[in-house]
């Protein structure tokens, strides 16, 4: 197993981030439940967060002088806080929609259609 004896680099983290991002985008596109769309958003934000942390880490690249440093971690902290805020508001809107229409199907939310 050559795989387990080598070190991991930024690219490995980028691939994981890409997979999570794609899963999130597909989840946002496919799910009909509003909460499923929210979960897709969380997955997308996490994929981006993995990229930020990987670029900030000095362990993961052969030219570690060019690493982003703590900026990557700071930005990922901002992303985490913004995700919490966004989830709170989106959940409140979803619950309001559920109270008024007794469904969370996003295809039924078409009252603003012209």
């Amino acid at each position: 197993m050559q795989l387990l004896t080598q070190t991991v680099g930024v690219s490995h983290f980028l691939v994981v981030g890409a997979v999570l991002f794609i899963a999130g985008v597909v989840c946002m596109a496919v799910k009909r439940n509003a909460l499923g769309v929210l979960m897709g958003i969380e997955l997308v934000l996490n994929g981006a967060n993995i990229n930020f942390v990987a670029f900030g880490s000095k362990f993961l690249r052969s030219d570690s002088a060019y690493a982003l440093g703590l900026d990557g971690q700071l930005i990922s902290l901002f992303v985490i806080v913004l995700a919490a805020a966004e989830a709170a508001v989106a959940l409140a809107i979803t619950l309001n929609f559920y109270n008024n229409h007794s469904t969370v199907d996003v295809d039924r939310a078409d009252e603003l259609k012209g």
Partner: protein
């Protein structure tokens, strides 16, 4: 074959769990199961953060994300998951379009992550080649000392090529949020030295934003009094 690099081993373990449960969120049609899979995926992501040396961000991922945001999401699931709403099916055409989108994004993003050569391997002095055999390890470490770390640079590396000290990022992160970048004291341009280009203003903006958002969420989600019930 050399000894197993345990950092790599745990990276692949957490990466498989994160990606597998992330894909399971997409595939599953039951909203309650999706929430459960999402918790596991985000927890494994916190493990990846720890492996990248971001201990504070990993801890915050566990506390805020898994402990706060997802609990909120699960409350929403429990309040709305009734009858046919638990599993809403998607039509086949939507799946085809979404898979096309996923294929295009994957063909774009994954090769883009693999192109840069210096991103493919870890930092050279953490490599296991030094620790492959004991005699060789002593020789190599006697020949080439690890570079002297400067302030804000890497922690010391012992003769096995493993960092001596744990990278502790909580204090530099906190000071960075208050506007003082203690992690890069040398290479600050002179014009920025008084403030050292910290994150004080974004921190305040995000604090006020969070306050406003939570007040708004509480206002939106309050239980409404019926118009006729007013005495």
């Amino acid at each position: 074959m050399g000894p197993v690099n345990w950092h790599t081993f745990f990276f692949y373990l957490y990466a498989l769990v994160a990606c597998g449960f992330g894909v399971a969120v997409v595939i599953s049609t039951n909203i309650v199961r999706m929430a459960m899979y999402l918790i596991v995926s985000l927890g494994a992501t916190a493990g990846l953060f720890f492996l990248a040396g971001a201990d504070f961000v990993g801890a915050m991922q566990l506390m805020i994300y898994v402990g706060g945001t997802l609990v909120l999401l699960i409350f929403g699931v429990m309040l709305t998951a009734q009858g046919p709403l638990i599993s809403l099916r998607t039509s086949g055409g939507d799946w085809i379009v979404a898979m096309l989108l996923a294929g295009c994004l994957g063909a774009l993003l994954i090769p883009a992550g693999l192109t840069v050569k210096s991103w493919n391997t870890g930092r050279p002095d953490v490599k296991e080649e030094v620790a492959q055999s004991g005699a060789q390890a002593v020789l190599v470490s006697a020949d080439q000392k690890p570079p002297v770390p400067t302030a804000g640079d890497m922690p010391d590396v012992n003769e096995d090529g493993i960092p001596d000290k744990q990278p502790i990022t909580a204090a530099p992160l906190g000071l960075g949020l208050l506007g003082a970048r203690v992690d890069k004291l040398e290479n600050v341009p002179a014009a920025l030295r008084p403030g050292m280009s910290g994150y004080l203003l974004p921190f305040e903006v995000i604090s006020v934003h969070l306050l406003v958002v939570l007040v708004g969420a509480a206002y939106l989600a309050r239980s409404k009094r019926r118009a006729g019930n007013r005495s």
